[in-house]
């Protein structure tokens, strides 16, 4: 392990030297080693096991008021020279109308529980067995479970940021993402269930629990009724609550807000949600799924409140968007490539410039127990899964999701019956403003590579039947 970081550091120093020798004013190298092992489960069997080990460097350069970026996976000296030239060429027409400099060094905080040697060094044979344990548990839960599909991703990464202002920040971590979808059958009736979670260490991976939860949801939907179109009180369980949280994360990124989702653009200092909603970003949270001592440009992490009791207090910043808006970086640089045709694996990615984004966001837990929220609901729906969730009008906030499975009617505080597939069609701002209960416990939930700590929330939304 040490030798890999040493070789990354060697390549990084070489890049900075080449850049300085070529007369560039500033340079920043972001070096990555990212390993992903994926076990895919299909039709109650292991379908494929696949791995990627990606090592490379992303380089930003500043010349005068010009900024450039390029990346490569080839760390030979010849390639690094080409990298510097390419980064300089991309800077030529990109004149910044403001002064910009890469971050300065700072004191590095410590974060516990983000690296697990056992997970990083887990033999692939063991990973296959753990993945399959999810299927075993689901099949054992109930004979009506006939099919399972899922995935186990195990990720370990090391990163290093070096810049000509003296930043030298190492970071390493591990995490897993595990999910299972189960199908249950009874006569002609078919029902689905799923469970998905993530964690930073091997001891958090509980395949039996995942398999049983997926199976339980599938079996529970075998007897279901058609939903009547209406506006309902909606209890969003962990996964759909994370779906909402995921969209809010986009909205508080000044870059994403400018480019794609401007819903919060003119709402700083204004009410965007009910007083029950406080959104915190805490990358220092021990064991946090998005925690790390530094962000992806080497700025030290800090805890901050983004939405306080419903009022939008701030957007999150990296150094670049901070410079645009004349604000300091909030330590929220993440690197992701959203270029099509470029790899975007879980873990760390050197193919993109930093973007400002919440790193370990969560809704502040409320006072309610999950069960109490259900007990307190006279007439509503319990939503355990979102599917195909979209902000269909990002200016106005039109929001839709298919409630594909795990949908139940709640009457007088009790879950009475499972409901057939339905569609939520409402407005995200209205849904946020209608939140009247938040549960007191955070659970890691999500789907398809997007996981966060989240409580259960209760709101209102319009739901139609589609089956």
């Amino acid at each position: 392990m040490a030798s890999l970081l040493t070789s990354l550091r060697g390549a990084g120093k070489t890049v900075l030297e080449i850049a300085e020798n070529k007369g560039l004013d500033e340079a920043e190298a972001y070096l990555v080693s990212n390993k992903v092992l994926t076990i895919r489960l299909v039709n109650n069997a292991v379908f494929e096991s696949k791995g990627v080990h990606d090592i490379g460097v992303g380089l930003r350069v500043i010349k005068g008021n010009m900024l450039g970026f390029s990346s490569t996976a080839d760390l030979s000296k010849q390639s690094l020279k080409k990298l510097v030239d390419t980064a300089a060429s991309t800077a030529k027409a990109r004149k910044l109308p403001f002064k910009y400099s890469f971050p300065k060094p700072g004191k590095m905080p410590r974060v516990a529980g983000v690296y697990s040697k056992k997970l990083a060094e887990l033999p692939s044979e063991k990973a296959v067995e753990l993945a399959y344990d999810m299927v075993d548990a689901s099949l054992a839960y109930n004979k009506k479970v006939v099919d399972n599909a899922g995935v186990l991703n195990i990720v370990s990464y090391e990163t290093l940021v070096l810049n000509t202002n003296g930043v030298s920040a190492e970071n390493r971590g591990t995490f897993f993402e595990a999910s299972l979808s189960a199908t249950a059958k009874s006569g002609k009736k078919v029902s689905e269930g799923s469970e998905a979670t993530a964690g930073r260490s091997l001891k958090e991976l509980k395949p039996k629990e995942i398999g049983e939860k997926a199976a339980e949801m599938a079996v529970s939907g075998l007897k279901s009724e058609r939903l009547k179109e209406d506006t309902y009180t909606l209890i969003l369980d962990y996964e759909p609550a994370q779906g909402v949280l995921g969209y809010i994360s986009y909205l508080v990124s000044p870059m994403i807000a400018r480019l794609y989702f401007p819903l919060f653009v003119d709402k700083l200092g204004k009410k965007v949600a009910s007083p029950q909603i406080t959104l915190i970003d805490d990358p220092l949270m021990p064991n946090g799924i998005g925690s790390a001592p530094v962000d992806d440009e080497g700025t030290q992490s800090k805890k901050q409140i983004i939405i306080n009791e419903g009022v939008l207090k701030k957007f999150v910043y990296d150094s670049f968007y901070g410079a645009i808006d004349k604000k300091k970086t909030t330590g929220n640089a993440i690197r992701t490539s959203f270029a099509v045709g470029v790899s975007a694996f879980p873990g760390k990615n050197y193919n993109g410039e930093p973007i400002p984004f919440p790193r370990n966001p969560y809704f502040k837990p409320g006072k309610w127990k999950r069960e109490e929220i259900i007990e307190d609901t006279k007439r509503g729906l319990l939503v355990r899964r979102f599917h195909y969730t979209r902000l269909t009008n990002p200016t106005r906030g039109d929001f839709t999701s298919v409630l594909r499975m795990g949908l139940y009617a709640v009457k007088n505080g009790e879950i009475t019956v499972a409901l057939k597939k339905s569609r939520l069609l409402d407005n995200l701002l209205n849904m946020l403003k209608n939140v009247d209960a938040v549960s007191n416990k955070l659970v890691v939930a999500g789907s398809w590579g997007d996981y966060a700590h989240t409580p259960v929330i209760r709101t209102k939304a319009h739901v139609t039947s589609i089956d």
Partner: protein, 472 residues
């Protein structure tokens, strides 16, 4: 060098005991420029090369990729690809069997007139800045967004059956979007231009004119009337809207892995599983998937399993004829493999993907279609899809529409979507035009980890029946 690397991996995996092995050595060049409201948000060039090694051991798949192209790096990756496949084989009750495929030895290139790297990045940046500026046709345009992508890929595919295929591909596209605002009303309009080829596409098309049109459209939509819900209305879909429909409710459910339930976890399944040979639509309903069409985003001659590409007939005159296959799914369905496998880079295992999926032609003219419609709607340009996991119920919004009264286009409509079920709509198709247009759809997502891929979709103008929704 690359050939040595690939052959070494293939030979070494065979020696370890893999029944089948293939390797892809790839060199990628990728540029991205994003300009919003006059400011360059992104201007980057990525380069990446490496190898992906896929093994079949005791009927189970293993895969490993690496960017370390030293002999040691490839050796390690090959060993891992073998080891994970072997470990998986304990939990594979039905060993994978590959349908036979001819081992081609060939080399081909996408036709390029102006190589992407022959145009200075600086000049491309200036162009995108200029096009974004043209989106701002008046003060009502509050946001302009121009996104440019250019990709070059050199790929070598080899397998232990003797195949050796080289492919040099080049793709580029630009998306232009304008957001307009008046009072509390906000609207937007967007278009994408792209192809497989070089920078010449931006010389052939008058991009500044197109940008201005996009700006004007966004402004015009502010004056359009909000659509009202109407059950079972006659609708005429233009090429662009038909493209998204082809993509979402024909293309995705035609992927054989999806039909087999293998994408159930995230993406979903398919309502027409087991219905091959059944009539599921009207005689006017025909859909192809064809990677062999030059200049499209879905262009290729051989897929990432080395299978020669051909036009796939998915639906013919309303009858479900077949799916998109890998060599593995072809065995399961007892058909010939039809070159459906693609991976976005060497780092990913190939998946069954659309290439260019489009509705087949008819014999009507667009004008006739409108003229012979007493009351209906012309639905223009795709916006957002909301589809259930079986691709049965669908709702897709459009950028704009026109009400048709007595054969003439009348009221301009905004905030409109169509909804129906797949079979209901397929059966309702009653007229289609002759001219098929395939449009670029960059960014189709599938797989875990997700692979975002560029495809082409399209069709002629299509007339059918669907419920019109006014989207609040």
């Amino acid at each position: 060098m690359e050939e040595d690397s690939a052959l070494f991996a293939v030979e070494y995996a065979s020696k370890l005991g893999a029944g089948y092995v293939d390797a892809r050595v790839e060199d990628h060049y990728n540029e991205l420029i994003i300009v919003a409201n006059g400011k360059v948000q992104r201007g980057i060039i990525n380069r990446k090369r490496g190898i992906g090694i896929r093994t079949l051991v005791n009927g189970a798949w293993g895969f490993q990729s690496t960017t370390d192209l030293t002999k040691k790096g490839i050796r390690q990756a090959t060993e891992t690809a073998f080891k994970v496949a072997k470990a998986s084989s304990k939990h594979v009750p039905k060993p994978v069997k590959l349908a036979p495929a001819k081992a081609y030895k060939t080399s081909y290139k996408t036709k390029v007139k102006v190589d992407l790297e022959d145009v200075a990045f600086e000049d491309k940046l200036k162009q995108i800045i200029a096009w974004e500026k043209m989106l701002h046709t008046s003060k009502k345009i509050v946001r302009g967004l121009a996104e440019y992508t250019g990709i070059k890929i050199h790929k070598l595919f080899v397998n232990n059956e003797g195949a050796k295929i080289r492919f040099s591909n080049s793709l580029t596209w630009v998306s232009l979007k304008a957001d307009s605002k008046k009072g509390d009303m906000t609207q937007f309009y967007e278009r994408t231009v792209g192809h497989s080829g070089g920078h010449e596409i931006f010389q052939k098309n008058d991009m500044e004119k197109l940008s201005t049109e996009v700006g004007h459209k966004a402004e015009t939509l502010l004056k359009a009337k909000a659509a009202k819900t109407e059950k079972d209305a006659t609708v005429i879909l233009d090429n662009d809207y038909a493209a998204l429909l082809a993509h979402e409710i024909v293309g995705h459910p035609s992927e054989a892995d999806r039909v087999l339930g293998r994408e159930a976890a995230w993406a979903g399944t398919t309502w027409w599983a087991g219905k091959i040979g059944e009539k599921i639509g009207s005689d006017y309903f025909t859909v192809y998937d064809d990677p062999t069409i030059p200049s499209t985003l879905g262009y290729y001659r051989y897929d990432d399993e080395g299978v020669k590409a051909e036009r796939k007939v998915l639906i013919k005159k309303g009858v479900l004829k077949g799916h998109m296959h890998s060599r593995e799914t072809a065995t399961i369905f007892g058909v010939k493999p039809n070159a459906g496998m693609r991976a976005i880079t060497f780092e990913y295992i190939p998946l069954i993907r659309m290439s260019n999926t489009f509705f087949g032609e008819g014999d009507w003219k667009k004008e006739e279609l409108i003229r012979e419609t007493k009351h209906g709607y012309l639905i223009s340009c795709m916006r957002h899809p909301s589809i259930d996991d079986k691709r049965y119920n669908w709702t897709i919004s459009a950028q704009e529409a026109y009400e048709i009264k007595n054969g003439e286009l009348t009221t301009h409509l905004r905030d409109i979507a169509l909804t129906s079920t797949a079979p209901k709509f397929f059966k309702s198709i009653n007229a289609i035009t002759k001219r098929v247009e395939i449009v670029p759809l960059p960014g189709c997502g599938k797989g875990d980890p997700m692979q975002s891929l560029y495809v082409g979709n399209g069709g002629p103008y299509i007339r059918g029946v669907a419920t019109v929704l006014g989207v609040k």
